[in-house]
């Protein structure tokens, strides 16, 4: 169980403030970061993965991200893979310092869950958008990380695969892996252990979804009225869209 403790995190580039004095502690399980485009989600993930120089502190299991990288798997939203590399090449590259000899089995197992075992021997360039994402997810998991950082893991995925990914992340969280995910699929926040809501580089809410989220907060953060779709399921949808649907 890796705890993620962020204290007074700020980040700016060329005088533009991207992240502003962010503090929270996520002690275990699945953390979902939501917020509008440009809110700073990706930047926050990169800070957690030790990829940017920031002010303030981040501690993963008590140490700085740089020292914890051995145990982190990070998948960016738009990775720039070598398009000629085959699936197994990508997984091997991810396991450049293999903790054990089982990475290949784990990789193939995850691919298998999505019915994509065939990707192992195909070059990235021949894969569909969704297949590329799942390949990278499988490669990231093959490292057997303690902390998994995923930027928009459900983008490009169909509903089935999205669901399977959410399932997988919950399983991992259950197995003691800490998972931090940035996403725009606010309806999935229901399954998170913690939710962090960013707006213009500030943390406006943090905590378990039932406490941290509300129609008011979301409407405020996203700038349009957002309603729970159905009182039985804690899913949210913009009112505008709801109206359109019922026209």
């Amino acid at each position: 169980m890796v705890s993620v403790a962020v204290k007074n995190l700020s980040y700016e580039v060329n005088g533009v403030h991207i992240l502003n004095d962010i503090s929270f502690t996520h002690s275990s399980g699945l953390l979902m970061i939501i917020g509008p485009n440009g809110a700073g989600k990706t930047t926050l993930l990169r800070a957690l993965a030790g990829l940017v120089k920031f002010r303030g502190s981040v501690e993963l299991d008590g140490v700085r991200p740089e020292e914890y990288r051995r145990y982190i798997s990070y998948v960016p939203a738009q990775p720039s893979l070598d398009l000629m590399a085959r699936g197994l090449d990508v997984a091997l590259a991810m396991n450049y310092r293999p903790p054990d000899g089982l990475w290949r089995e784990r990789f193939l197992e995850v691919l298998g869950r999505f019915g994509l075992g065939g990707l192992a021997n195909r070059p990235v360039i021949s894969m569909s958008s969704g297949e590329q994402r799942l390949l990278l997810l499988a490669a990231a998991l093959s490292r057997d990380p303690r902390l998994l950082i995923l930027d928009e893991p459900t983008a490009f995925l169909d509903v089935t695969n999205r669901t399977k990914v959410i399932e997988l992340l919950q399983e991992l969280a259950g197995d003691g892996v800490s998972v931090v995910v940035a996403t725009h699929d606010i309806e999935y926040t229901a399954v998170a252990d913690n939710v962090a809501v960013l707006k213009s580089g500030r943390l406006v809410s943090f905590g378990p979804p039932r406490e941290a989220l509300s129609e008011e907060l979301l409407s405020d953060v996203y700038g349009i009225s957002i309603r729970r779709v159905d009182r039985n399921t804690p899913s949210y949808m913009p009112e505008l869209l709801l109206k359109r649907f019922s026209k």
């Binding site: 030790g50 990829l51 051995r70 982190i72 960016p76 070598d82 085959r86 590259a93 450049y96």
Partner: protein, 329 residues
Amino acid sequence: MRAGQLRWLAPPILLALASLASVSIGPYSRVGLPQLVDLMVGHDIPSTYFYIIVYRLTRTAAAIVLGVSLASAGASLQYTLRNPLVDPYLAGVASGALLGVTLMIYLGRVGFLELYAAAMAGGLLTLALVTVVSSLAGGGASTFLITGVAASYLLSGLTMFLMIDLGPRLPGALYWMFGSVAFVTANILEKSAAVAAASLAGLLLLARKVNTFMLGDEVARSLGVNVSLVRALSFLLASSATSAVVAMSGPVGFIGLVSPWLARRMYGSNFTTVLPAAATIGATLTVLSDIAARLVIYPSEAPLTAVTSVFGAPLLVYILLKSRSEGSW
């Protein structure tokens, strides 16, 4: 499975055969395979024969060291800078070495070891300079590219100024420029091989880290690979291996550019596989080219770059045309 094994065994076997040919074949036709066998089984052979065999052995070893170094350096740089046009001379070590050599000739200091030392020093100084400037300028892949290119041009520009003053002494510098393993002495081979081996060992140690570059800088860094450091180190090690062999045999072209391409084409993207494969292919190409260099305009020696280029280029185009449908270039 058979075909698979062959794919892995072919390069080392070819290299072994090429090396054997290289020791058995030469303009002095009285020394061939039979004499080599005689020597190996302990029969007496004339001392001239013995000298010829020793000479050919030295030159073959030099070709192998040269091929392995250039191909490994080329592969490392192409991977770490993610640009297939990069060759081992990117850092400008060839221009630096040539400047060293030309300067010595210009100053009239033409002792063989002096020239060697000047070439080595020129290469390593250039390398150090480029690394320092690139690091000051941020250390990104394109910074290395640009600084290296700038240094190459600067140094060859300076060399040209010296060259036009050399007059009849020009060929001494010029043919050094064309490259050859015909004049490598055991003494110098040892020195160069030691530097190259140390550098290549470093590259081999880095191979798994370099392999992560295919995931993009961002992901590689997240894995704990110090991308800038690995890039700078690969740059240093690849260039120092190049420096070592350039000082020994001049800047032989084509091998360092094309061997990684062939290796990738045959063995995929994995750098941990491509590195040794490229090295073996590079060595084989160099040894074969050197055999041709002795024979093709006998009794003169042909410049090695001329041979690698004239024979290598059609090979490259052939492979290119063959792989057309597979679309994997």
